[in-house]
Symmetry: C2
């Protein structure tokens, strides 16, 4: 192992643009993310495209860095890959930028980088350019990662504005796991049964939906703001009422329990591998059939439909027969969830 | 002015994915960066390309956020635009991701965002997607910005590997200004004459060089690691000796003075609007003629040439007739320079 790496913690000189930074980049990042474009070492990666391309960015500041079901590395890949996937774009190329606090353990950084490399394999995306900054102790909380992705769009027309009153709303799995897992990690809670984050790369599922020619109207992963944020955004942007049934929305017992304990709603909790679809009623069965082939989508379910009554609103039908508005979450639920 | 914005400091809820975040994004970021692609509000921006595209990322953690000649906003645009320009790529689209410390003044954020919007005009690049994270007090030092850029490549073949022994080495202006300006701001120094950072968008100059069909072999902005880092990278990657003359390298009196005071070398100091070119000898005059049309390149100069003697090495010829290796900077010069 290289001398610089074996010093065990990241030092300010690792971000200085000199010899130490070169060692860190070559011994750690290039080894984990190796590919011909990354190796070119120019100021920018050279890519080739013909046609429409999706472009998306995300900075990850999750605390703690390691949680049940993932870590910041897995999250930073799945998150950006999922943003591309939600546009029906093949996740092809990612940039990756680290902001590291002086004193951060190299061993931890290595674990995180390996976790990124592993998650990249789920979609076939490649990291083709990067940046490393080291800030003095106390100027950042351990590690922040930005990933920005580009990929060619395979199916056009998917949009927050395209939800119609002939659509059904489908959720890919039980909701609220990522928010609950972070809450649990932060509060040092242990539950009898294991609650893990849903953190996952969604591209393999989306790829199958596209291959089956499912006419997807809208598709979004329910990250910060949870299911509520996605549905409210769609209702407003598409100028429709979205009508969902609480009983149809899958929520696991652990998430339900934590929500009761802390006064949260599962609809507002963040997810990191759960997505919502609006597809025409006639495509609903085919969509569900494809989704359920994937183990984390076994609970995929139709949770509601769309009409023209109270445009811009999301209506939640409770198990007791009453209805209420499902609003956009307000205030601070859980900081640094992603 | 919107209620949320008038609260005057950024709160954790501004990063929560709910109403407050929507207000911050729409009232501040969308207003400053307005364009049709950004307004689409999908998970990713949709772009169109035919051909080769450059892709580059940079996270900016500069301290202090405001310095003589610029601020983190100007820097975050010029830096990424310049990385594209150095690949002869037209800076077209940028993503922009903010990590903001809770309690950061909205007024300061607004100044920085306006500075970004102003610098974008220098190249015509547009911010088409973004991300906002707010971390609790003490978890970041004010503000970090990541920008990632894509743009079509207008001239191929520019590479760290393409320097030949028929080339001359040109520097676009006096070196070391950005590093010196940051040092000055950090130490609270005031000099008799004003020293400003060289922070600037280089695309307009590069665009003219391309338009004039200058056969550029290598081109790099001398950021972290300064002139030394660029020349050493080229000497190694192109397997040549680069021979530079200290007297030919423009350095202003203020930078020279600060270097003497702090024991730095101007060659090692960071620049943020200064670039180095390797062009064939026969193109040198035409290159300089074009560069000198731009006010900040009036001092553009040939500083050296290339040979096959000590391959991989950079030789500095001092004014006293001696020679020495100009090495890659080692250790920590100035943390958080960009």
């Amino acid at each position: 192992m290289n001398q610089t790496i074996s010093k065990k913690v990241v030092q300010l000189s690792h971000g200085g643009g000199g010899k130490e930074m070169n060692h860190l980049i070559k011994d750690l990042f290039f080894k984990a993310f190796d590919n011909p474009i990354l190796r070119s070492e120019e100021d920018a990666a050279v890519l080739h495209f013909n046609g429409d391309v999706a472009f998306t960015t995300d900075s990850f500041t999750v605390a703690p860095l390691f949680f049940s079901g993932g870590d910041i590395g897995k999250l930073s890949i799945a998150g950006t890959v999922n943003d591309l996937a939600m546009m029906a774009a093949e996740p092809q190329y990612l940039s990756c930028s680290f902001i590291i606090e002086e004193g951060f353990e190299i061993a931890k950084l290595k674990t995180i980088v390996e976790s990124m490399a592993k998650e990249l394999k789920q979609s076939g995306a490649r990291i083709v350019c990067g940046d490393t900054k080291v800030v003095p102790r106390g100027c950042a909380d351990g590690l922040f990662i930005n990933t920005t992705g580009v990929g060619r769009i395979l199916q056009k027309g998917i949009s927050v504005k395209s939800v119609t009153d002939d659509d059904v709303i489908i959720v890919s799995r039980d909701i609220g796991r990522h928010g609950a897992a972070i809450l649990m990690a932060r509060e040092g809670l242990t539950l009898d049964s294991e609650l893990t984050s849903d953190c996952a790369t969604l591209w393999p599922i989306v790829e199958q939906l596209i291959a089956a020619n499912i006419e997807i109207h809208a598709m979004r992963d329910a990250t910060r703001g949870g299911l509520s944020a996605v549905l409210n955004e769609w209702a407003l942007a598409s100028d429709v009422e979205i009508n969902v049934h609480e009983e149809a929305i899958p929520v696991c017992d652990e998430v339900r329990g934590l929500c009761e304990l802390y006064g949260f709603e599962p609809f507002d909790l963040a997810n990191e591998g759960t997505f919502i679809l609006a597809v025409p009623k006639k495509s609903a069965d085919a969509t569900l059939e494809i989704m359920k082939r994937f183990c984390h989508c076994e609970q995929a379910a139709i949770i509601g439909d769309v009409n023209q009554n109270r445009k811009g609103k999301v209506i939640l039908n409770t198990p007791w027969g009453s209805t209420r508005y499902l609003d956009l979450p307000q205030g601070e639920l859980l900081p640094r969830i992603c």
